[in-house]
């Protein structure tokens, strides 16, 4: 044990004198309204493919959906997005949406409320040599229609006339060797 640290311990009452606006959770939350906060979780967290894939990877490696939501909530409090009270209201809807998304993606995951038998079955599944590929994604009829519509729009022919039909020859070439005139100037070598 480092004895010099004994003398650097906090003095009783020191917490009352320190800067109270230092941390994000000391300030008013970014989303004080339930609907705004839930929309933030839907649009910026669950709809973000990178974050969802990270969550899927964690779920595949044994993280329960419950721990994912708990950590997401605590992280949001730490970043000053919501208050701890708001997490209690939001946790249920976020958990429900996340687990439904996992179900739709065909993931095998722990819920966090599993019985010993379910845990045993999960362990056996993880230890087995069975392929761990997710099942086929289940989409509702309306979602399938929406997907079909988006696919048709993307694969539609590019118009030949007008601005949208501009050929590649018309593309403007940006000279890379000349100075771009951007805000950040390239360093100039000093001449001796």
């Amino acid at each position: 044990m480092n004895r010099s640290k004994l003398f650097n311990a906090a003095i009783p009452g020191e917490n009352l004198t320190v800067e109270s606006r230092k941390w994000a959770w000391h300030k008013p939350p970014q989303y004080p309204n339930f609907d705004d906060a839930f929309e933030y979780f839907l649009e910026d967290v669950l709809a973000d493919s990178e974050r969802l894939n990270a969550a899927r990877a964690m779920a595949r490696n044994g993280f329960s959906a419950l721990s994912l939501v708990q950590n997401l909530m605590i992280q949001s409090v730490a970043k000053g997005r919501i208050t701890p009270d708001m997490t209690l209201l939001l946790a249920g809807p976020v958990y429900k949406t996340l687990t439904r998304m996992f179900d739709a993606l065909g993931e095998t995951y722990l819920t966090g409320y599993d019985s010993p038998q379910e845990l045993q079955a999960y362990v056996e599944y993880m230890q087995s040599d069975a392929p761990k590929k997710p099942k086929k994604a289940k989409l509702s009829k309306s979602q399938e229609k929406e997907m079909q519509k988006i696919t048709e729009e993307v694969s539609a022919e590019i118009p030949k006339g007008g601005l949208m039909g501009a050929t590649k020859e018309d593309d403007m070439e940006i000279p890379m060797d000349k100075p771009s005139g951007s805000l950040v100037e390239q360093p100039v070598e000093e001449l001796n």
Binding site: F34, D35, F38, E39, L66, V69, Q70, M73, I74, V77, P84, T87, L88, L89, A91, G92, P93, Y95, K96, T97, R100, M101, D103, A104, G112, Y113, K138, L139, S140, K141
Partner: protein, 58 residues
């Protein structure tokens, strides 16, 4: 409840198994969400899957 983690676990369990609560607690929980746009029914509709839709239709 020891900390926020336990409180969140309990809150999620109550939300997901609302039907298992007694009518008074159930109403209390529904009322907490009913004043918002994303109430219990909206969240349920938002993430409903195909097989559930078919079950409800039949």
């Amino acid at each position: 409840m020891n900390d926020l983690y336990d409180a969140l676990k309990e809150a999620i369990h109550r939300y997901m198994h609302m039907d298992e609560l007694n009518p008074r607690k159930q109403q209390k929980l529904r009322d907490a969400y009913s004043r918002h746009v994303y109430n219990y029914e909206s969240v349920d509709r938002l993430s409903r899957l195909d097989d559930e839709e078919e079950n409800n239709e039949s």
